[in-house]
Structures are given as C-alpha cells and as structure tokens.
Assembly symmetry: C2
Homo-oligomer: 158 residues x 2
C-alpha cells in the first residue's frame, strides 16, 4: 500500500466531468490555475523556464474501475490500459499543459482538460527529448485520434 498526499489543487472552468475536453489538445485555450500548498512552493524555482509541464493528479471524481471500457474516442470496448479513462485501479491522471506564468505559488496554465478542484500529486517539466517519440503506432486510436480536439466527454465515467 502506497500513501500519497496532494501538494496542491487544480482550478478550472469545468465544475462537472461531463462536457469537458477529453485531452489537453482538446482544451486548447482553456485557462486554469494550480494552487501549490505553501510548504511545497520552494520546489517551483526554475519551473517558469518551461513552456509546458506535466501534471499528475488524482481523479477524485472517479470511483471503482472496470478492466474493459468503451472510451470517449470509440464505440467498442477496449482494455482499460489501452485507454485514458479516469476510472482506473490507481486513478492517476496525466496532462501536459502550457505554463503561462507563476505568481505567488499559483501556476497559470492553458490547454486544460481537468475538472475543478482536482488534487495535484506532482509536477514534472515537459522535455521533448525525454517524452517525445516520432514514429509511433497508436492501435485503436489510429483512425480517430485526430478528432480529439473536437470531442467532449459525457457522463459515462462520472
């Protein structure tokens, strides 16, 4: 058993999981803030040099999980680990967002696909040389992944 404690709270315009962008690329232009709890703010030094950051957070609105799900991007059941569905054995979410500025322990971010009030677990700098692969196969998403910018969530994982 592993125990985690949030280091902050993510604030966004999305008060309910339904109707949200599905991925950060679908949340283009949507602004939000990340409030970092005071005892962790010293760790933000140098972060403002990065234009994009990786947020790891707790899917606090998800309860339980199924190993087969019909994802927002598809009409067929897929294996849970081949999807980004929020109901997972360990409900950790991952979003890469644009970092506009940091003021008084508040991160101002863009391209947000996260529900308001989400507990933040970690921040990592986004570095293309670590995280970016050119030629990839994306299985069941090969045909539909370009549509992520226009798709929205519904209530299936609420």
């Amino acid at each position: 058993m592993i125990e985690l404690n949030p280091i902050g709270t993510i604030h966004t315009p999305f008060t309910e999981p339904a109707g949200m962008p599905i991925q950060p690329t679908g949340g283009a232009g949507v602004q939000g803030t990340v409030e970092i709890f005071e005892e962790y703010q010293a760790g933000l030094k140098d972060l403002d040099g990065f234009s994009h950051i990786i947020l790891l957070y707790y899917f606090h609105r998800s309860q339980g999980f199924k190993l087969h799900v019909v994802p927002f991007m598809d009409t067929q059941e897929r294996g849970l680990f081949a999807t980004r569905a929020p109901m997972r054995p360990n409900p950790i979410g991952l979003s890469i967002v644009q970092l506009d500025r940091i003021e008084s322990g508040i991160l101002h971010i863009q391209n947000v696909d996260i529900v308001d009030g989400t507990p933040l677990l970690d921040i990592k700098p986004y570095v293309p040389d670590f995280d970016n692969y050119g030629e990839v196969r994306t299985g069941w998403l090969d045909e539909t992944r370009n549509s992520v910018r226009i798709r929205r969530s519904d209530e299936r994982f609420s």
Copy 2:
C-alpha cells in the same frame, strides 16, 4: 490521504539506482519486462496496438525529498518540480517506453530507465496527439537536454 496498490512489477537489468540511464531516451535498446498481476491482465486488451506506452510507477528506492536539488543534468541547485529527480513529495515516476510484445500478462519493453523491482501503478497508451508539443521552452535544460542519451545517474538520489 490517497492510497494506491501496485498493479504489477517492472523487471530491468538495473539492480541499483546508480549508473542507470537518466531517461528512457538514454536507455535506448535496454530491454525489460513488466509483470502485470493476474487480476488486472484483462485490462491489457488492445494495448498491443501501441508502439509506445506511458508507465507510472512508484520510486520505491527513494526516501524523503528536498525542494531544491542538483539534478544529474546540471551542476546547480534547481527547484524539485523543475527536475525529474526521484525523491519527491509523491514519488511517482513516469517513463515512456517502447512496447515490443505482450505474452501471458508480461509486457516486453525497450528503452528502460527504471530500477529492477519497481512497483507499477498504471499504464497509459502514448498518443502523440495528446502528449506531444512542438515548440517548447525547457528552461535550465535548454543547453544540456541533448546530452541525456549519454549521461548516467550516480548515487545522489539513492
């Protein structure tokens, strides 16, 4: 307080944290396996269509954290959240690895920068349209990030 339970174990050639590649791009060609516990194996359906996957795991060899660290890639102290150092308030690691095949609940992976025996928390498909940004700034890493392929860890975070 959030409680997590591992869904599997990552096996790699790296029995000690020192001397390891620093990021997956530094572990090019290094092979490993991920053993998924039987009760979660049904969730692996469709994952074999993806050439790259995101592993989230628990830095089980890390204890405690400091908010300022001297990263492997630098000689100066940086804010913890502007680094990938393993000693973090919530010690969750993230690696994007190549998935070669899945057999009997075992994932065969390449480009591994993870220590042997690491508890796996989650698997997500790597999808460039979700996770890949073109023009980015990478702060203190701008000058050194290309060297990540040849750098190796030492004992500073062991």
